[in-house]
Amino acid sequence: MSTQNMTNGEVDVYLDYDEAIGGYDPVIGLETHVELGTNSKMWCGCSTNFGADSNTQVCPVCLGLPGSMPVVNRAAVESTIRIGLALNCTIAEWCRFARKNYFYPDMPKDYQISQYDEPLCFDGYLDVTVETPDGPQVVRVEIERVHMEEDTGKLTHAGGATGRIHGADYSLVDYNRAGIPLIEIVTKPVTGTGRLAPEVARAYVTELRNVIIALVVSDARMEEGSMRCDVNLSIAKPGAEWGTRSETKNVNSLRSVERAVRSEIERQASVLNNGGRIIQETRHFHEDTGRSTSGRSKEQAEDYRYFPEPDLVPVAPSREWVEELRATMPEMPAVKRARLQAEWNINEFELQSLANAGAIELVEATIAAGVDAAAARKWWTGELLRVANETGVELDSLTVTPDDIKQVEALIASGSLNDKLARQVFDGLINGEGTVDEVVAKRGLAVVSDDGALLAAIDEALAASPDVAEKIKSGKIQAAGAIVGAVMKTTKGQADAAKVRTLLLERLGVTE
């Protein structure tokens, strides 16, 4: 390793994971930001809809214009309390907002209204399950705090090599996102996970996402940025004091959470094994390489000059309100999974696969729509998950609804579609070609059930292969496969093979 690399923390050759984890114990900490799905922003009435034209969902308040003042969105407080309750937190009787002061052009006021030493929710936990060679293992991840803050605007840097603000020709700011309610969920340091650290991290973020979706407080879409995760990680020799931690940002998918932890363990172990030291810094994870690069160094800790936000009054949720919210909590994902496992008669591993795929709610909704449980599971964890993985989106981002599956299954049941054609229907749905019926019509997807058309195709195939026809007639029924195949080919797969076979044998007067 070169001297330069020793100082900047970058590594030419990474230890592989087994080597890396063999010598060190990791400590992880996860900071998750979730944009709440409230209709309006944190401090004003502007819409929170994603995807509007730049700077169209703004007002004097979220632009931080001189003189404007924030007012707390009660729905955001309620959502935060619900998350706190779901994570077994204590809900503060009285807490305040604080200003976090720093200059950055994506922040209209040059301070972020956040919470500092008085979070709304604190001291909770979330149990998560990871697969181990010895079977599923439950790990309790302790929650330090859940607090409220506001999102910043979104910067786009044009020109320059890095895609960052430094070196850019110019930068554009979209303040539509500024002031969207954001909550930050911070874990306590998670220790003792050993080599399972990457899986624990992923399982935690996955389960947290499940909880948030169950609470209907956010769509928690990592690819749209409505859920974002920062990974804090340090490693140390077993029994030694904790090492210096890095903070990895830009971890934008559940898979990346696991990869980022794994990669950072490998990097830190590589640096330490080469006699280097870990510097406290922010790193940026890159999906393409699966590695991170150094961001700004935090060796000189930034001084945010926190102080209580004087433009807002304290938040003091009444105990009655908290209890009312507690009483109306939905079924938590873990409880629900246990129930579904029993109802669907599947084992924990199968259910965990569904959970990992983010398919539980979809399967459940599909069953609720009237589809057979096995068929519902088959489509979501088979074809649709394959497409989702291939295109790198979450399963629920696919434009396929439980009702679509119901329609497809009905068409299969009536013999109009087979599984192969059904996959083409889903492909059409995902491509935005319209409804199930429209895709079927446009692509001409239908099992050929007209006996006349099939008989014509059979006759044609028999005429083309008179020798095969003779073989079948002579009792070599296994030779029928060649003719059936030919017929399937002429009908472009849109025939029911079993039916073709029956018709063929009838035609030739052969019985099995």
Binding site: P60, L65, P66, M69, D110, V313
Partner: protein, 497 residues
């Protein structure tokens, strides 16, 4: 009707409502007066003649149609340039906001419009309301109509001078440590800092959010009360605004009665450091109050001596954060954007070019006071002092109904006299600052001219939070007695310009 600019707001409103004069005539008379004298006074930074006349015309149309009118409909007003007014320049006296036109109205402006009060323009002020002389305005100082070589007080010197120069019968100020009351004191006018939360801060460019409070200014106690009533009341856009019925300040100003009222003289706010003529007029005013039937008692507020120190930690701390947004990125001045400088450099160059020395001084003080490792010793400690001062007030109000003191230790000082001595400037607010720290309401009203310099002296009346009506009850009574004695309001003695 004689010179329309010499009338009170109440008289003008009655005259407009009874069609004796038109609102357009009243507005035009004041625009003419501004054109005639503001070259000497410089009370206004920006005159909104067109919109003022349009507003006045609308009032006259309402009068003609018999539409019910507000108590001050058609009466002109000067608006401190720290309050956002849609489409009109709003600079807070700073170069960094030169050219900015807010796309929205502050709540105060919205209420003025709803009350059909005609806004003549934006009045001068110390930059971002930091100062006691209006000399810190980036657009040049305002001159005191009583003596053009003297300061009109600050930060709201423009509003006070506009009243004293008869350029407007009404004005809006904002008071963070005395910026309504001290200018009133040194210009012989009346100003009230309402209870914190009594008037919405929405649209007031913030100096120190926990201390700032907009309020009414006029030449008489009744006019001040009428304006107070027009702008006060809960505003859902300001979380710190009080959601309760506003005390009936107009009725109190009309009742103007101190019989049986217990009035506390704050020991710590008199004596050493107060100009002789100020002390003399103050003592005489106390005698008058006593003659009017009030009971005068001495009250000690031992923690007031720490008020100035605490104030100059809390204010700069909050200001350093409130003023961060002036970074050249979105509005106002942008300097150093040559395509090479980094975003941080453009921010720094803009702030270096756009802020004046007093603003920079306070931003630096505040940034330091909030720094990690110093927070507890400075900001934290100052908040404790604030609590102690509030307790002093609470204890005092157990014994008395209102408290009094001189508003300022001196009459108007000379322009330039204290400009290079920030501490001397800060000391001018020693009597007004405790009120802001405690969030209570207070009034300054004229009680005579200091014999040694012939300049106005003001008395401060302080009342418990949410009891702003007591200010008007006592102030109205004192004003009536003094007017009887002099035969006119003190402001009538101001020299012709």
């Amino acid at each position: 009707m004689n010179d329309l600019t010499r009338q009170s707001a109440a008289v003008l409103a009655d005259a407009i409502a009874s069609k004796e004069v038109t609102a357009v005539e009243v507005t035009q008379a004041h625009l003419d007066r501004i054109a005639a004298v503001d070259g000497k006074v410089h009370a206004f930074l920006h005159v909104t003649a067109d919109s003022a006349l349009a507003q006045a015309k609308a009032v006259d149309a309402k009068v003609a149609a018999g539409t019910p009118l507000g108590a001050l409909a058609g009466v002109p007003l000067g608006l401190k340039d720290v309050l956002a007014m849609k489409g009109e320049p709003t600079t807070a006296g700073s170069k960094i906001l030169e050219g900015w036109r807010p796309p929205y109205d502050s709540t105060v402006v919205a209420r003025l419009r709803a009350a059909d009060i005609v806004i003549l323009g934006k009045t001068n002020m110390d930059e971002f309301a930091m100062g006691s002389s209006t000399e810190h305005s980036a657009y040049g100082p305002t001159h005191n109509p009583w003596d053009l070589d003297r300061i009109p007080g600050g930060s709201g010197g423009g509003s006070a001078a506009a009243l004293a120069a008869f350029e407007a019968p009404l004005a809006i100020g904002t008071d963070t440590g005395g910026s309504i009351r001290q200018p009133a004191s040194v210009t012989g006018t009346v100003g009230v800092k309402p209870t914190y939360g009594g008037v919405s801060r929405y649209g007031q460019i913030a100096l120190a959010s926990s201390l700032d409070q907009p309020g009414p200014c006029a030449r008489s106690v009744l006019d001040t009360a009428l304006l107070h009533a027009a702008i006060a009341g809960h505003d859902p856009r300001d979380s710190t605004s009080i959601n309760a019925t506003v005390p009936d300040v107009v009725a109190a100003a009309k009742k103007a009665d101190v019989r049986g009222m217990r009035i506390g003289v704050v020991t710590e706010l008199s004596g050493d450091g107060y100009q002789a003529g100020v002390s003399q007029r103050y003592a005489e005013a106390l005698d008058i109050l006593r003659e009017l039937g009030a009971e005068i008692v001495e009250v000690s507020c031992p923690h007031f001596e720490y008020a100035l120190g605490a104030y100059y930690l809390i204010l700069p701390s909050e200001a350093s954060s409130n003023l961060a947004r002036f970074d050249g990125m979105r509005y106002g001045l942008r300097a150093g954007d040559d395509g090479k400088n980094s975003v941080e450099q453009v921010m720094a160059i803009t702030r270096e070019a756009g802020f004046g020395p007093e603003v920079k001084r306070r931003i630096m003080l505040g940034t330091y006071a909030l720094s990690s490792g110093y927070y507890d010793a400075y900001y934290g400690q100052a908040q404790k002092v604030r609590t102690l001062i509030t307790r002093d007030f609470n204890a005092a109000f157990e014994k008395v109904d209102v408290l009094v003191s001189p508003t300022a230790p001196t009459t108007a000082f000379k322009l330039g006299e204290k400009l290079d001595d920030p501490l001397a400037m800060y000391l001018n607010d020693v009597a007004t600052i405790p009120v802001n720290l405690a969030g209570i309401g207070a009034m300054s009203l004229p009680i005579g001219l200091a014999p040694e310099d012939g300049l106005p002296v003001g008395m401060q009346i302080m009342a418990p939070a949410m009891a702003d009506d007591r200010l008007y009850l006592a102030g109205g009574a004192l004003e009536a007695a003094l007017t009887d004695k002099w035969g006119h309001l003190l402001i009538e003695e101001a020299p012709a310009l």
